[in-house]
Amino acid sequence: MHSSKAAVLRRQRFDQYVGVYHQDMYRYAAWLSRDKAIAEDVVQEALLRAWKSLDALRDENLAKQWLLTIVRRENARYFERKRLETVDIDNLTASQAALLAVEDDKELDDMRQAIYELDDDYREPLVLQVLMGFSTNEIAEQMGLKQGAVLTRLHRARAKLAEKME
């Protein structure tokens, strides 16, 4: 195939994936980092990395998992570089608070804050299951856990949220 045509097709393929999965990438990054500005940085880095390694994606059906895996790694890299401190819910930066900003809806606000306060170990599988539609098997693969551990974390996450929302 002529290289310029190959380049155009490659870009079309990339744009197609990004168009479909950009929202998922951002929301996953946002709930991992709990910071709007960091999420935007992580997604930018993830898009660059996805572009460079696009040819490694052999199965279009796995595009979503592939992109979210890149987001997860970029988020980990970001926090390695920055060595950020643990988030204190009572002392949020503007960018952290921006993530929680909702319209005039107390129930939504309370739930969002409750999720925000969950430990990473509980919040991430919940996001993957509820928001991304992953099965517990897929979550286990994504997080490098056994399925039983994923089920336990999801069970505890919901129990904690139910308790907080009472």
Binding site: L9, E60, L108, L151
Partner: protein, 237 residues
Amino acid sequence: MMMNCDQYREAIAADPSFDGGAGHLSECSSCQAYRKEMLELNQRISRALALDVPELDVPELPAIETDKVVTLPTRKLSSPVWMAMAATVVLAAFVGFRMIGGGVEYPTLADELLAHIDHEHVSLVVTNVAVSDERLTSVVPADIARLDHSAGLITYAQSCVIGGHSVPHLVIQGEHGPVTILLMPDEMVSGPQRITGESVNGVILPVGDGSIAIFGEREESLDRIEKEVLDSVTWST
């Protein structure tokens, strides 16, 4: 064995789509109420997780040397080959154009297959990573065909639509690059159809009431692959 309340609640809290434990649920009003609570909680979680997303801002993307990217070249069948095909190949059962979903028309099965392979260029990657057995089983279900691994390393497996039927689309690694195999139990051909172009060497083989298409690079020798593929596939119908 029937679940008890603790087991059922643990399962439904871990995954609100859990649909097991029907026996217990039908007899336990307390767990019915708990299930309803969990489904409602999940809806609230889902709503809270759906953050507003800023407008997509794609960073400046560096140029990639696409020469190093392996894809199947554009198919350009030379006139003499087409003429030879017209003279020697009996295109059975296809009168007029083949109507495909979306209103696309192809004059022959071969045209449709070549267009499909070009469309699904993502499958044509040189790799030594095989698809999982689980994946292969889902793409080649037992009610379509039985397939063993003697045809070679299968590096791509996808269910695709050819002639309005869902067919297994597989890729194995040949000596000159990826080789596409399409198992078409509903596409009958009266005899082998050879397709040779500037960048493709292919064949559609009649197999029982259906056919199997094999397409590789121009230089790929298909004789051995044909034999191995035919030996490895058995229609279930």
